[in-house]
Subunit: 348 residues, 2 copies
């Protein structure tokens, strides 16, 4: 007498619709090959039973799950929000769903997540944390390399994995040029964490651009992308024997933290010190002063990344090794020409 508990199965739908199990299965994969009448009966039966395909079973059978795994270092970083929206939208259009792994930059954890790909639980993987799971040379790594994987935003050390993102080095150079064009000659940098690929590229580019324009890169303070680390870095910079007239923070959060610390220390921005950020997150536009920054096409990056994995999943050979998207200068109020503000205490 006890009724069934779980959701309906195909067999139940089949019985109710008066067709064979197979037919129901086909109704969900190859609807075109069924007679309209049969299809309708199945649709009705499914609706009445509120039937949903069991994804575990389908996935076991098809060796594919309709899931995309996204590995990122910190879901709390607002930079990722729009990127994820782009990925989400693209995945949805492709009928796939997102599994998000926040690795906290922990390799063991990342490997654990990646095991899902290896186990066939997910169809493809987007790496936003700059690291390829599994030790180089291991069988698991080898298998990973044959799977649909793309690196987003940050390069990974394996060149055979397609990359989607901007040219970070060029962007770093551009910041130096921008500052040089404003007349600045003494530059400072707030870098991201040392081991990070983005940190390196932006810093190298910045140094290169400075050199090209005959500017002095007075020094580099190291942060960890967070607002707080930007504040600390700014305090550090203020203690340097030779103070720069402009600083470039490798992301907006550190730039915002720096601006805040500078204001607290009574240093006017951009009057005494110009500040440039990176990413153009939403809050960059509404700070005071609003932040000059480099805009990354975050949403488009997300879309491009899904497109790339999807292509590989479906066997389309769009195997471009890299998809470099354009970045963009966004000039706002946190930068000004050299000496603009040194004269007076401020301009009201």
């Amino acid at each position: 007498m006890r009724g069934k508990v779980g959701p309906a199965t195909m067999r139940e739908v089949a019985e109710r619709a008066g067709v064979a199990l197979t037919t129901v299965s086909r109704a969900f994969s190859n609807p075109d090959k069924l007679s309209p009448d049969t299809l309708r009966r199945i649709a009705d039966a499914s609706a009445e039973l509120q039937y949903t395909v069991n994804l575990s079973a389908r996935s076991l059978r098809k060796r594919s799950s309709g899931m995309l795994l996204v590995l990122l270092p910190d879901i709390g970083n607002p930079f990722f929000s729009l990127v994820l929206k782009g990925i989400e939208e693209g995945a949805r259009e492709g009928g796939r769903v997102l599994l998000i792994g926040d690795t906290g930059s922990d390799a063991t954890l990342a490997d654990a997540y990646a095991g899902q790909l290896d186990a066939g639980t997910v169809d493809g993987m987007i790496l936003i944390d700059g690291r390829v799971p599994f030790p180089h040379g291991s069988p698991a790594r080898a298998r990973l390399m044959r799977a649909p994987v793309v690196a987003l935003s940050e390069h990974v050390d394996d060149p055979s994995i397609p990359f989607v993102g901007i040219d970070n080095r060029a962007a770093g150079r551009d910041v130096a040029h921008l500052l040089a064009d404003l007349g600045h000659r003494r530059l400072g940098h707030i870098a991201g964490p040392a081991a990070n690929g983005l940190t390196t590229l932006r810093e190298q580019g910045f140094a290169e651009g400075a050199r090209e324009r005959g500017c002095d890169l007075l020094g580099t303070a190291t942060g960890d992308w967070s607002i707080g680390s930007g504040q600390a870095a700014a305090a550090d910079i203020l203690s340097w024997p030779h103070r720069p007239t402009a600083i470039f923070a490798a992301n907006d959060e550190m730039a915002i933290g720096a601006v805040h610390a500078l204001a607290a220390a009574g240093v006017s921005v951009p009057g005494e010190l110009s500040v440039v950020g990176f990413d153009d997150i939403d809050f960059a536009a509404v700070g005071s002063p609003a932040l000059t920054t480099i805009r990354q096409p975050r949403f488009a990056m997300g879309r491009a990344a899904v497109e790339a994995v999807t292509a590989r999943i479906e066997g389309r050979t769009t195997a471009e090794p890299a998809r470099i998207l354009p970045f963009e200068r966004v000039m706002r109020a946190s930068t000004g020409p050299l000496g603009s503000g040194q004269t007076a205490a401020g301009r009201g």
Copy 2:
């Protein structure tokens, strides 16, 4: 001659380790019940083959997947970042993984995601978008109600679903009291989208608190939680015939937008107008002026929510109908006593 392609299976591990398939299975679920020697051989074999359990198969068999589904309206909203971190951490500790569904507040989409729960693809669900999937009274809804589901941050219309979050009405009242204590009597409000439960609660609470202290709530401008909508709302408020001396924005982003628009319009904050936000996102602390706001314990909320679903999943009857966490006033520079700034142009 063609080698196998996919990852190793239990059978292969079993063969290599010289044990039965069943034994390998047990090694991964009940390791305690195996002899150390057997366990070791299986461990070795697994390592050599880089074996990973196939989660689809396990999930099919166990009718549970080790996944938690999180439904949220907008992954781009920084409020969710820390909440998600809390959920993530809790899920991980429980050996579970996160499936994140960004519904964009779209009911159809939410239902599609929720179907996964129904199909047993996910073990539990955390609703952060204030809506229970599936029409009231439908079989699917009925099944959902028996599944481990909790509402986080925003109440849902079904009282039988446990809630985790703060008392938003009380928080709204508190803001009014806070402002009244500073001497303000003419208040304005920037509300969230009309259909939203959070909007209603905070607005009602604010109105209530204002009434209690004999303040006039001059009007309410409606936003959509975004920075831009806060800017627009502020512009609107400036056009009111009677201008308030303090406004409460229902979240920090709108508050930040408002402060920005106010500054652009030459209105000093808090000199001429005090502004209070809600949530205490990271950026609230580093704006200029830094934002007075109500802090929600975002991380703890996430943790509490996983704890609640996990309890239900594991059959522990911690079936509290609600888990109300404390909010906290955070006084910063965007509020000041009435009239503090009306006298002079500013205080250097």
